[in-house]
Symmetry: C2
Subunit: 538 residues, 2 copies
């Protein structure tokens, strides 16, 4: 079994719209490529295609979309633009699914029956689901542009934030990353100086490598990472990347640099951890987000689908008709309902789809049973003031700890504002999930107790909180999916991408970009394109 973050499919890069269309063409064969030439989708490519699609014929133009998360919304939006009659069935009373932002008044009754009401001050919020957009997730960014949503930087890595390890005082990212770079540069530079590297380099290149390492590590001429903290030896340049023990004065006092930790200390205490600096492809600077909250994106879709979304409608049964179409039935507050259509895009979580009474093929059903619901959770803590900015000079980004709370995230906007602020008091992943499967009051208590080791201001400044545990959220029941093996994942993709009669599948979990909104969008577009191709096949 693979943990989620080790699954080979979890992280990948998104396609530009053009790349996406090229890819769809490749994977779906020449017939689809031909029909794509008539698709209006192409007109939205940045390269400037202006080919218009003609509307689908009667009898092939009704599409039912199950689920009003971002995958379902995007599929409906694309098909509607092409002239289809679309209807989105959404169990919740809001659009967006896991793309959800907590603000004053946000109310949720969890599986298990506990109800929380968010009591944040107006203007405070935090994203319960997705919170950041990689700069290379072109599909997500394209929709934000199309809807005129304000994209702003999301600070992912912050040198002023903290790294905390059990039994150690909190350290800043700048202290840890500077020391690790200093010590490893020293070790390698000294090996290079005595010409004991495992690769052949000319004497000239070796000296250039040493010069580079001196710069990286701020090494002295003797190639030492200065233990006393005086890194001015390098180029006579009085800059101290790990910061000061005593700050410099206003006029003539240059201050007291802080003293590095020894390599042994860093290793033994667990500070030698890769990727504190968020250098994996999907976390690399620059990251973006939507000013005011990520849920503005699903709401922008929903505005453009006005009257085409049935809220509060739960799906119970999914059947094929004799004519090759679908009939779906379920319940709503107003009673039972039944809808017919020519095609159906299933954009519900896979474990919920697999549990419905449905005419899926045996292969489809087996594929839908492969993804395993994973858990994750966040808590938003409102404090009387933004002490992390005022006292600790932390403007955005994250702190990490080996406690269960795992990660703290600081607000990405509203810097310097007076009054209260909301920070994310934990963002835990699957391996700490069970520890937070408790009532909200216990989650809050744990967040406050563990967080106070990083921020002693907690007890004096705390006001109230709102938390989400995704496995307890109705109609989702998971944060994202994981698979027992890469083979399982490949089998699922291969099966689902072909569709199943009138059924198509969309969602981040059905893409190589699981866990990212871009995965939802590419599968939504792929399903829309496949339906459009079939609606035009003669």
């Amino acid at each position: 079994m693979l943990p989620r973050c080790a699954a080979p499919h979890v992280r990948s890069t998104a396609l530009s719209r053009r790349q996406f269309l090229e890819r769809i063409g490749q994977v779906s064969g020449a017939a689809l490529v031909g029909s794509l030439l008539t698709l209006d989708l192409l007109a939205r490519d940045r390269g400037g295609f202006r080919l218009g699609g003609h509307a689908p014929s009667e009898g092939r133009n009704r599409v039912l979309i199950l689920g009003g998360g971002v995958a379902g919304l995007a599929a409906a939006y694309e098909l509607r633009k092409l002239g289809y009659h679309v209807r989105v069935i959404e169990a919740r009373t809001r659009p967006g699914g896991r793309c959800w932002t907590a603000r004053a008044g946000t109310t949720e009754t969890e599986i298990g029956g506990e109800t929380q009401v968010c009591r944040f001050t107006n203007g405070n919020s935090f994203n319960l689901g997705p919170m950041r957009i990689p700069h290379h997730h072109a599909t997500t960014l394209d929709y934000c542009r199309e809807f005129g949503l304000p994209l702003v930087p999301f600070t992912n890595f912050n040198q002023a934030a903290f790294v905390h390890r059990a039994g150690q005082p909190r350290r800043t990212m700048r202290e840890i990353t500077t020391d690790l770079r200093g010590h490893t540069s020293e070790l390698l530079a000294k090996v290079a100086r005595r010409d004991a590297l495992d690769v052949p380099l000319t004497a000239e290149d070796r000296e250039k490598l040493i010069a580079y390492l001196r710069g990286e590590g701020r090494l002295t001429e003797a190639l030492d990472y200065p233990r006393g903290g005086d890194t001015s030896g390098f180029l006579n340049y009085r800059d101290h990347p790990r910061g000061y023990a005593a700050s410099p004065g206003a006029t003539a006092d240059f201050g007291e640099p802080s003293a590095p930790l020894e390599l042994e200390t860093l290793i033994k205490a667990g500070f030698a951890q890769p990727d504190l600096a968020m250098r994996e492809l999907h976390q690399q600077d620059s990251m973006l987000t939507i000013s005011g909250g990520m849920d503005r994106l699903p709401h922008a879709f929903a505005e453009r689908l006005d009257g085409m979304i049935d809220y509060g409608a739960e799906v119970r049964e999914i059947r094929r008709t004799a004519e090759g179409g679908v009939v779906v039935s379920g319940v709503a507050e107003s009673g039972a309902w039944t809808k017919e259509a020519d095609f159906c895009i299933c954009a519900l979580p896979p474990h919920l789809l697999a549990g419905l009474a449905a005419d899926f093929s045996a292969e489809t059903l087996a594929a839908l049973r492969l993804p395993i619901p994973d858990g994750a959770g966040k808590i938003g803590l409102q404090f009387k003031r933004r002490f992390w900015e005022e006292d600790d000079e932390i403007f955005g980004g994250r702190s990490v700890t080996d406690q269960a709370i795992s990660q703290l995230y600081y607000p990405f906007e509203g810097f310097g504002k007076p009054g209260s602020g909301v920070m994310v008091g934990y963002y835990h992943f699957s391996d700490r999930h069970a520890e937070f499967d408790v009532p909200h009051a216990e989650r809050e208590a744990r967040a406050l107790a563990e967080g106070a080791l990083l921020h002693p201001q907690y007890p004096a400044e705390f006001e109230h909180s709102f938390s989400v545990e995704w496995n307890r959220i109705r109609h989702s029941g998971m944060s994202w999916a994981w698979w027992h093996s890469g083979a399982d994942f490949d089998r699922m993709l291969t099966t689902l991408r072909a569709g199943d009669g009138p059924f198509y599948f969309a969602g981040d979990w059905a893409s190589v970009l699981t866990g990212w909104q871009a995965g939802a969008f590419v599968t939504a577009q792929s399903a829309a394109a496949a339906i459009h191709a079939r609606a035009h096949a003669s």
Copy 2:
């Protein structure tokens, strides 16, 4: 002679207001500490001092401030709050000095007579002087908070931006930094594996170091940085920090990782350069800036000093009076003027102060002659569209090149907006200064020719430009100062911080934070505090 960036005083960290006040107390002696207890300045400390200062007595309450840059404005603002009669003499018709933002209509006639008028589309701008605020420059951030100016992230480092070296194709930061980390991690991990490090580590710690290096470098089990680009060997985790040669597909295609450059190539081509990732203390993430332009800060001061600033007034003569005060005279459009005061804060560039007819002591004059004006320049290029975002996925940050243009900076806000955008087409420092000491048209031509090697979109998209060469800007004549030696710098600081009779000195150049606005602010506050202490000394 030291180049600016090698001067020991150029970079340092700013003080919190409390630290500043403590420092002032230390450097200025017990008398000043005592008098500070009555200063209203203390009431603004974050720690919450609420001690009120009483207004200065008649005969010690008139302060003339020469220069309406941020140092002069801040000194006037602080003194005015303490009850002083302040008057700011500013040669320009706008406040802010080098803190200046170009927008539609910005007009400047350079030394030499060439006039530029900025023809940017409304909404486009760029900062001609300071553009970013380190998160630890508390004084600057405090003023932004006090005036309610919107602080937003300034993306300094961006993995999607380019590194360009002569004769090489452009590379992304992610390619270069990932390869350098990969190769150096491989070299060190292999040395550690054969137990040939220059420091003793236990076997257990050595294995932990190797595990850390495997993560940092994405090394295979054999400790190789994968030449074929398949970094999935590490923890079976299919993430490719250096990006893709062929992007992954929407469904089942995992894409083609890009192939690393060899270490030798990186070294020979000059890619092995420290601090591409902006890790020096004053460039570390997170950086901040003011939404809409940095010049909103001096304008906020000026609004609060309404009627107390004489614009268009040039200083010619600075004299002492028999009573120990000052009389300053000069010219304005309306003719000659003369002003008397009890104290005078000189907040003009040092080389301009040294050139005035002034009653400075011989020591002061010698000190003012030590800083040497340095040059730097920027050009803002308006393009028809934000192609760096649309085509290259660059949202903020900088690209670097070894050509004269040195650095490109991308706009830090307005991401995804349709229509034109302005990027900084060069930001060159002292060593390339002479190459840009030419008419604007030649600067523009050079910016376009060299920049096109990083962005081939330039010729098709360019509209117009506005440039600044700080050594050619009247009333400034420099970007910042440099010194022949650290001893010169120390001598200057020691002399000027004591004041000279009624004269005090303020400006970034007179602080340990030269080249940063925080340096201007701490010297302004220091001068204000010293005057206030004297005004209360009995």
